[in-house]
């Protein structure tokens, strides 16, 4: 495995609700450990309630862990995070055009080089969004909005990309398309990706490795390597090897 860039060590997370008399504790994650190597595409796969989104939020620092630690060795700084985040909804600012949305991170970070806009326009091409730079979010379809949001996450060229069920709200056909777009972007940028999903076939199709998670409490069931050849395309999904993975995962998640 290549150099480790994300190290998740014995991470636990407990949510407390109710008052003193009626204190309820919910263990969302217990003793979760795994590592992600540079340039790896890793999926966190599991049913709803297994804490996979919570885990991603802990990795990104949006949520603190109750126990354990997350170590990211890729360098960010106090202005620029070492990762880009893609949410389930596109969370585009509706008063900005697609291009202005993708450039938004630079406005927050307070620095934009001439080459940055060029880089973002290249990402637009990679995401098949050329011609829609000046469109407003409401003029874009759900799939296109999500592509803009991926471009935004990659705009400042972070080494890691964190994705929280980014295609969960899309229809199956759009989802297949976006999986291919994402693979193309990944092939050409070679980011380290941590991808949260509850779709078995999506996880197999995209990933180098799948961290399979179970519920009650949320924990790692298996760390599975996917050795399907790359580059992958629609034919990959028809191969017998693909089905072997899908079947094994389906058994595990029953």
């Amino acid at each position: 495995m290549s150099e480790t860039v994300v190290r998740v060590k014995n991470v636990g997370r407990t949510f407390v609700s109710g008052d003193k008399k009626d204190r309820k504790e919910f263990i969302a994650l217990e003793e979760v450990s795994f590592e992600v190597g540079r340039g790896e595409f890793v999926s966190l796969l599991g049913p709803s309630g297994c804490g996979k989104s919570t885990l991603l939020k802990i990795i990104s620092g949006l949520l603190p862990a109750t126990s354990g630690s997350v170590e990211i060795t890729e360098q960010g700084n106090d202005k620029v995070p070492p990762f880009g985040f893609v949410f389930q909804d596109s969370v585009l600012l509706p008063w900005r055009t697609a291009l202005d949305n993708a450039l938004f991170p630079f406005e927050i970070m307070g620095k934009r080089e001439k080459s940055d806009e060029k880089h973002v326009r290249e990402l637009f091409a990679l995401a098949k969004l050329v011609g829609f730079e000046e469109s407003y979010p409401r003029q874009l379809s759900g799939g296109m909005k999500q592509r803009v949001s991926i471009v935004r996450a990659l705009s400042y060229n972070p080494p890691i990309l964190l994705m929280d069920e980014p295609f969960g709200a899309l229809d199956a056909i759009t989802r297949d398309n976006l999986n291919n777009v994402l693979l193309e972007i990944w092939e050409s940028t070679r980011k380290t990706v941590i991808f949260v999903t509850h779709s078995i076939s999506e996880a197999v199709y995209l990933s180098d490795r799948i961290i399979v998670m179970g519920t009650k409490p949320g924990r790692v069931l298996k760390d599975m390597k996917v050795t399907l050849p790359r580059p992958r395309n629609e034919d990959t999904k028809l191969s017998p090897e693909f089905y072997v993975y899908v079947r094994e995962l389906r058994e595990m998640l029953k």
Binding site: S60, V91, P137
Partner: protein, 261 residues
């Protein structure tokens, strides 16, 4: 599509003439004396005459000026109260009982008290308008700021946005549709507040003309003055809508507006 628009306009104008026709017909058929219900053309003539001799301009300006001043103060206070309530639960919990009490009190009932304290005229009128404009803006500002989906805030956290960037680049623009809706309600309430307070505590203004007309049994003056207040209300409402359309060109509610033209 175009034909349908023309048809709607024609029918809409026909409706006005139908209304005026019934009005006129009722007077002619029943021989209604003009001091009770003047005919439409007399009201129209009086309206034009009152503009021409400067009465409506003079008194309308007084009313307009009071509304703009009171609306500005009231909605600014409402915005600030709403903003700080949305930011801090503690602040909201401290002020909300008082806001509720003020809102539950029919504001018109306060006017006699204002007259005792401040006399007839500007201060009493302003106070009522401020109270009328405050609440809708406050409530909508809170709602607007609170209804921003959590992931927008997460995005700002991921990008390490400062507090200032969070407010200016995300929260205020996101809350603008609801704040504008609050301002529209506040404007309507301000116009009502101004007319009612001039009626009860005024010595000037369009509301005062209504009292004057009533005491003279001058139905013609009354109806012309009502027409003038209607125009004033419409102009003020349209100016807010105009600002709204400029600010919210991106919002779903303006979709038909931008794509239809």
């Amino acid at each position: 599509m175009m034909n349908k628009r023309v048809l709607i306009t024609v029918l809409s104008i026909l409706f006005l003439f139908l209304f005026l026709g019934i009005w006129k017909g009722y007077i002619v058929l029943n021989d209604v004396p003009p001091f009770i219900l003047p005919p439409p053309e007399a009201v129209g003539q009086r309206f034009v005459a009152l503009i021409a001799n400067g009465t409506f301009i003079r008194e309308g300006w007084v009313t307009l000026y009071t509304i703009i001043l009171g609306f500005s103060i009231g909605s600014t206070m409402g915005f600030l109260a709403g903003y700080f309530s949305a930011r801090s639960r503690t602040f909201e919990e401290i002020i909300s009982p008082y806001v509720m009490v003020i809102q539950a009190t029919p504001k018109v009932s306060l006017i006699p008290l204002f007259v005792i304290w401040f006399g007839l005229g500007m201060p009493s009128k302003l106070l009522l308008i401020i109270l009328s404009a405050f609440f809708p803006v406050m409530v909508n500002t809170i709602l607007g700021l609170r209804s921003i989906p959590e992931d927008y805030s997460n995005l700002m956290t991921v990008l390490k946005a400062t507090e200032r960037q969070r407010v200016l680049k995300l929260e205020l623009p996101m809350a603008t549709p609801l704040i504008m809706a609050g301002l529209k309600i506040a404007m309507v309430q301000s116009v009502i507040g101004a007319i009612v307070s001039e009626w009860m505590a005024g010595d000037r203004g369009l509301g005062y003309l209504l009292v004057y007309g009533s005491s003279l049994y001058d139905a013609n003056l009354l109806m012309a003055s009502i027409l003038a207040t209607t125009f004033l209300g419409l102009i003020l409402y349209w100016s807010i809508e105009f600002v709204e359309k400029k600010l919210l060109f991106w919002h779903e509610s303006k979709l038909a507006f931008t794509e239809g033209t």
